[in-house]
């Protein structure tokens, strides 16, 4: 029997040479007349070790990484196909500390299986959740999700079950399931990793949602910056259709449900659910005033469930193993697991799925190994471009929704970007305002105009012009943006700005240097 060798097809792994490594292994095996089977799996999430090559031996999978094509001949020489030791040996994958201390629930199969093999998906628990859901009443499915405590993983943290209940109770001739895969926050890549590594779990989650609320059509709104995910999702949808999971009768239940994967076009605001719906309808992604909620009047005016990728992908495990299993993870009102994404200037960057409640410090140092540059950590940003900057003394904050909010921060989509001591927080604050100006949909004045005024005020503060007056003005401007913006883009942009100012005031009180005048000013007019 041929030996199975796993080389990830994940975009991050490919970005550092996974395709070249796979080709080198295949070529070397042919040259040495050894029979092997190369499986292109998803990533295990230990991104700093990519390309991470695994060999299936009796009992466990042995990891080697990061592998370059030049390492391949010596890997064969050392007998890696039979577990031979090599300088890149990492031992059994499941024993690598970064991996071993996780609670892999949503990402249980990611990296383990061939993402496009439905047989492997089924063999590892796939479709058990949908099968169970099809034997339940709609109300019971929604209740199970509600009881699990699952909250929207996109950032807002709204209880998923309550959203579903609203759509379920709304009479309509047509309802929709929309998956928000517009993962635009810098520092986040969990959605991408899951869609590339275990796409069927998202499809199954959407099908369960459809059965639960009575929807017959689903859309995945995927950002265009993810061409690999688009390719894999489209293939997974086609396979699911052929297998009868999607189509006129989902798994033979008589419930029709189909999915179309649509691409965004580079607008950050389309991650906001009403803007996303406008975009799906073929319009400019200008946000809608709420109410009405999308659950009442969403896509094409019909009741619509809009959920993040991770929310929907968490559902199959909840239905398979029960609400209690899922709710047993976590703390307080943050139940279940959260895939943390360790990003930016960090030594061991990657995805770490864990129960809520770990402290930021533990995640960055015990798990992530500190900064990549080896210089002292100075700041972190959690929750994407709208998340707060935290200094060292706030790193003992637990990673759950309420504890983060208590420190005027937010967990958001779980991305943690680490900065070393070379960071200039005045510049980061300026970028936050500038980014808002670039990405504002333009509907409301506080966001559209306020962000541009914000850039100007920060420039004046940094230049030392009427500092006291301009600091007061910035505070006032931020208050207006928070209170009067229609959506969270304008409403949250002040959080990175004010947190930078609160925790790093010294960065705003320096003589102006060239570095304070980034070229972004020019791009802002694009």
């Amino acid at each position: 029997m041929s030996v199975r060798v796993y080389v990830p097809l994940d975009a991050a792994a490919r970005s550092v040479g996974a395709d070249e490594v796979a080709a080198a292994i295949a070529g070397e095996a042919i040259a040495r007349e050894i029979d092997i089977e190369i499986v292109r799996n998803g990533t295990r999430g230990m991104v700093w070790l990519e390309p991470l090559v695994e060999v299936a031996t009796s009992g466990s999978r042995l990891a080697y990484g990061p592998v370059s094509p030049a390492d391949v001949p010596s890997l064969f020489d050392s007998g890696f196909l039979t577990g031979g030791s090599h300088q890149l040996s990492l031992g059994p994958t499941s024993g690598i500390p970064f991996f071993a201390r996780q609670d892999r629930v949503t990402f249980a199969r990611c990296g383990l299986i061939d993402p496009l093999s439905l047989d492997e998906y089924r063999a590892n628990g796939g479709l058990a959740g949908l099968t169970r859901a099809l034997a339940m009443t709609r109300e019971a499915i929604v209740q199970e999700v509600t009881d699990s405590g699952l909250r929207g993983r996109g950032g807002a943290g709204f209880p998923t079950g309550i959203k579903w209940k609203t759509v379920l109770d709304e009479p309509a001739d047509q309802k929709y399931i929309v998956c928000n895969a517009d993962e635009g926050d810098s520092g986040t890549f969990a959605d991408r990793m899951l869609m590339e590594g275990d796409p069927f779990v998202l499809i199954e989650g959407m099908a369960i949602a459809a059965v639960a609320v009575g929807a017959t059509m689903g859309y995945v709104y995927l950002r265009s910056e993810y061409p690999d995910a688009f390719n894999i999702l489209q293939r997974a949808v086609a396979i699911s259709r052929d297998a009868g999971i999607l189509g006129p009768s989902a798994l033979g239940s008589g419930h029709p449900f189909d999915i179309d994967v649509r691409l965004g076009a580079g607008a950050y605001i389309c991650g906001e659910e009403t803007s996303l719906l406008e975009s799906l309808e073929g319009k400019r992604g200008v946000i809608r005033a709420k109410p009405p909620l999308p659950a009442i009047s969403g896509l094409f005016g019909k009741p619509t469930v809009v959920n993040n990728v991770l929310s929907l992908a968490s559902v199959p495990a909840i239905l398979e193993k029960g609400a209690g299993y899922y709710a047993a993870f976590g703390t307080g009102r943050s139940r279940g697991t959260m895939p943390l994404q360790l990003a930016g200037n960090i030594k061991h960057g990657g995805l770490f799925e864990t129960a809520f409640g770990m402290t930021i410090r533990e995640a960055i140092f015990a798990v992530g190994g500190g900064t990549a540059s080896g210089r002292p950590l100075r700041a972190i940003q959690i929750g994407g471009p709208l998340g707060a900057y935290f200094p060292d003394h706030l790193l003992d904050t637990p990673l759950d929704y309420e504890a983060m909010a208590a420190q005027k921060g937010m967990l958001g989509h779980g991305g943690i970007v680490v900065f070393d001591d070379s960071v200039d927080l005045a510049r980061q604050a300026r970028f936050a305002m500038d980014f808002c100006a670039i990405e504002s949909c333009g509907k409301c004045t506080p966001c559209r105009i306020g962000s541009t005024r914000g850039v100007e005020v920060i420039d004046r503060i940094v230049a030392g012009e009427d500092r006291a007056l301009n600091l007061e003005l910035l505070d006032d401007l931020c208050e207006v943006m928070v209170d009067a913006s229609l959506c969270q883009l304008g409403g949250l942009t002040p959080f990175p700005v004010l947190s930078a100012l609160r925790h790093f005031p010294e960065d705003f009180d320096r003589p102006a240097t060239a570095s304070h005048q980034p070229a972004l000013a020019k791009e802002g007019s694009q």
């Binding site: 970005s15 700093w48 649509r262 309808e281």
Partner: protein, 157 residues
């Protein structure tokens, strides 16, 4: 290098016709046109407006709203550099400065020889391997000076 074809009204009309019945067809049509021609030609605007029964202004409004859509043909290669926070933490600004200097263009511009269009992008989802770039749709991680040189050589070829 990406194999874009020159503007062809018949081909454009076919691409539009094949998608006009989709619910919310505007973005799928614009993507199909741009994937084929590298940009959305002005001549496509009335075709789309007619096919979807919307005004030309609405079509133009959509094109302008989204950063992705170009109205001019790009260079033979498209190099996108991530400028978002995770990449900032790994000094993508120095990388951007270096690339701009070497190519002699700013973001949103194409080199005079038509070889490379340089674009800024806000997050490629490769945040554990910053700084990130994308050359002709291929993601590249950990773009250190050596890799940047490789990229530039490839892009200018």
């Amino acid at each position: 290098m990406i194999g874009f074809v020159s503007w062809d009204a018949t081909l454009a009309a076919d691409l539009i016709r094949a998608r006009r019945q989709l619910p919310g067809a505007t973005l799928p049509i614009l993507h199909a046109l741009q994937d084929t021609f590298g940009y959305v030609d002005d001549q496509a605007i009335p075709l789309i407006a007619d096919a979807l029964n919307i005004s030309r202004a609405e079509v133009v409004g959509v094109i302008h709203f989204y950063h992705d859509f170009r109205q001019q043909p790009p260079g033979r290669h498209i190099l996108r550099l991530c400028r978002a926070e995770a990449c900032q933490s790994m000094d993508c600004d120095s990388l951007a400065g270096h690339v701009r200097e070497r190519l002699g263009v700013d973001f949103g511009e194409t080199t005079a020889d038509g070889a490379v269009t340089l674009e800024a992008v806000y997050c490629l989802g490769n945040c554990a391997l910053s700084p990130a770039a994308m050359l002709d749709g291929r993601l590249i991680g950990r773009v250190d000076p050596a890799r940047a040189e490789q990229l530039l050589a490839e892009a200018q070829a």
